[in-house]
Symmetry: C2
Subunit: 128 residues, 2 copies
């Protein structure tokens, strides 16, 4: 795995942006950030782990909500400062309960919601 | 357009990451960065303009190479700190002459190139 880290360019905070894409439909699900530990854990376990900038800790996607991402393939871009994660997404990638986070389109000078939740977000984060 | 800028969250450098996706095939082409001026120009002209962090200037995609991106739709994510640009890409999005920048996959502990150039990069940037 060191060969990978020798190639990657992290930002001043030690982070690299990672785009998550559903591997078979090509739907772009979300963008989050990874540090070296998150990448190591993701490659080792096969379950996608990010770095939460707001909580300043590893964010094991789906740990609370159950909406996990199984890694299918990790790709890097030409200058090795962005990752593309092909994943198998369980349920909703977005904390709003929508399948993906990009449900707002800018049309005619205003923000239009183009997707509805597929799950109740209250149920995602208030599990018994 | 002010309503859009009121929603968006830029980083400390005044930038926001933008994922470019081919609108019909859903292929993820590249990730680059935009500032407010780049977004304004993109929405006004319909041609995607980024902010080049290396050159510290507006980067009118395809201005030198001819490999332009026509904006089909701009979307934002749930916390409005990432853009998804649905585009019509002319030719190669990547400066290496490949259709997209994510041609390196991490497989079996090594980097594998999974796509070949569709154009000669020397021709993209040394036009008469």
């Amino acid at each position: 795995m060191n060969a990978l880290f020798e190639k990657l360019t992290f930002n001043a905070d030690g982070l690299i942006p990672a785009i998550a894409q559903q591997h078979d439909t090509c739907e772009v699900l979300m963008l989050a950030w990874m540090n070296r530990a998150a990448i190591e854990e993701t490659l080792t376990t096969g379950h996608v782990t990010y770095w939460s900038r707001s909580r300043q800790k590893l964010w094991r996607k789906g740990e609370t909500s159950g909406q996990t991402q199984k890694l299918v393939e990790l790709r890097l871009d030409c200058d090795a400062d962005t990752l593309l994660l092909l994943v198998e997404q369980t349920g909703a990638a977005c904390h709003t309960g929508r399948r993906n986070c990009f449900f707002s389109a800018w049309r005619g000078g205003e923000r239009i919601e183009i997707a509805n939740p597929i799950m109740n977000p209250a149920e995602l984060y208030n599990q018994p």
